[in-house]
């Protein structure tokens, strides 16, 4: 009898807890609080937080290779690159590229903001990360969760948890991070610039855009294929208007399903051993740095373009090149309307915002090609 009880005690997780596990419980509880009470990106943060919690309960073998439930989710979902492209399929079915098609110059703003990624890459090297790790950290500046996870799983899976949490946390904090940079780098006069109405886009243009863009990008940067093909297919579903069932499923049910597996798997990579490492603090710092520099480079690109333009663009929209859709566009609109009540920059800012999504994928593909 005593033996049975002794056995029960020694095989229980309780006896095998480490101090690190307890710290991770605290991290999980904090994230659960942020997700549930403060509603910070709950769709991602809640499953991530729960994943962190369960993987730090010893002897569950949930992440045991070839055996663990969550290991299988991770292996087939993230490691084999299925989930991030499916998220892009859903994203494409929800994105409206209209403002970008109406004003193709904004593609340059989407590209300009990606400059921040490269600056962060070099900063990460200076902090002692190796090339692949630096790439996985730099992509945080792209403000795109699935791309961060996609690149992270290929270049530095041991940093995946930290980079993903950074990316989603800073995306939620865009309304706090961006305005100071916007006010620092633009003059009051520039912020007041009113932008003329966007020209209307024909259905034909909206259908051709995803097809042509997909072809061009895949021909020029083949490693971008998994993400770009799915993004543009989703958009084609939406814009063709003839597959509403597929479009609806992609943007609702499919998105929700993969989000569940994504959050849980990413969270479950954050064991105490992997996460409680001073380098993780560097990642959080560099992630913030990436967002700030990308905002700055987008703004500066807009100001640069204005030197050559007769009809000036409002440089604030450059900040929306940081592709946190639509948080950055909303933020630009707010700051713009504070300067000039008659300015409705939201749709203008959506141009660079969606261009930034494409820009981040291309940047990730380039990093992958050179570092992978």
């Amino acid at each position: 009898m005593i033996d049975i009880i002794k056995d029960l005690i020694f095989t229980s997780g309780l006896m095998n807890l480490t101090g690190g596990n307890l710290v991770m419980w605290l991290v999980a509880f904090v994230l659960l609080y942020l997700a549930i009470k403060k509603q910070y990106e709950p769709l991602l943060l809640l499953p991530i937080a729960f994943g962190i919690l369960v993987v730090n309960l010893p002897l569950t073998f949930l992440m045991e290779p070839e055996h663990g439930l969550i290991w299988f989710f991770y292996k087939y979902g993230i490691d084999l690159d299925i989930i991030p492209p499916l998220i892009f399929l859903g994203l494409g079915a929800m994105i409206d590229f209209g403002p970008l098609i109406a004003n193709p110059k904004t593609l340059l703003l989407g590209a300009g903001a990606q400059v921040g990624l490269y600056v962060t890459f070099f900063a990460a090297i200076l902090f002692g990360f190796d090339l692949k790790e630096a790439g996985a950290i730099a992509i945080i500046g792209g403000a795109d969760g699935p791309t961060t996870i996609y690149l992270g799983s290929k270049l530095a899976p041991h940093l995946l948890g930290a980079t993903a949490v950074s990316a989603y946390a800073y995306m939620a904090l865009v309304p706090i991070i961006q305005p100071p940079m916007m006010k620092l780098l633009t003059s009051d006069h520039e912020r007041k610039i009113v932008m003329p109405k966007l020209r209307p886009i024909s259905r034909l243009q909206k259908i051709c855009f995803p097809i042509i863009t997909a072809m061009i990008i895949m021909l020029v940067v083949p490693p971008a294929a998994p993400l770009i093909s799915m993004l543009m297919l989703g958009n084609l579903f939406k814009e063709s208007g003839v597959v509403e069932r597929l479009s609806k499923t992609a943007s609702n049910e499919l998105m929700n399903i993969v989000t569940i597996f994504l959050g849980l798997s990413v969270g479950a990579t954050m064991t105490a051993a992997v996460f409680l490492n001073p380098r993780v603090l560097f990642i959080f710092f560099l992630g913030l740095f990436a967002f700030v520099i990308s905002t700055a480079s987008g703004l500066l690109m807009a100001k640069f373009m204005n030197l050559f333009l007769k009809d000036k663009i409002n440089p604030l929209i450059g900040a929306a090149g940081v592709s946190a859709v639509p948080m950055a566009a909303r933020c630009v609109h707010k700051v713009g309307s504070e300067a000039n009540r008659r300015n409705y920059l939201l749709m203008h800012a959506m141009g660079p915002n969606v261009a930034g999504v494409i820009g981040t994928v291309v940047a990730a593909a380039i990093l992958l090609k050179n570092l992978g």
């Binding site: 109405k197 966007l198 909303r330 409705y344 939201l346 959506m350």
Partner: protein, 70 residues
């Protein structure tokens, strides 16, 4: 007859005035919701509201007439 048109596409969230109200230039007259963000729309003109062409919950497009002010 100055018509106040929607500067962006969105949904009519709140209508802050009624027919017959007097409004001044730059008064907040309608709040639209676009991309989950409240966007206040300001009057182009001073005068009296003679017609309100939308009701709360309507979806409007860029350029749709919202309010007529005389």
């Amino acid at each position: 007859m100055p018509e106040l048109t929607a500067p962006i596409a969105g949904n009519v969230w709140k209508i802050l005035i009624a027919v017959g109200d007097k409004v001044e230039l730059d008064d907040e007259v309608i709040i639209l919701e676009a991309l989950k963000m409240e966007t206040p729309i300001y009057s182009d003109d001073s005068g009296t509201v003679t017609a309100i062409k939308v009701k709360e919950g309507d979806a409007v497009n860029d350029g749709d007439v919202l309010v007529v002010i005389d």
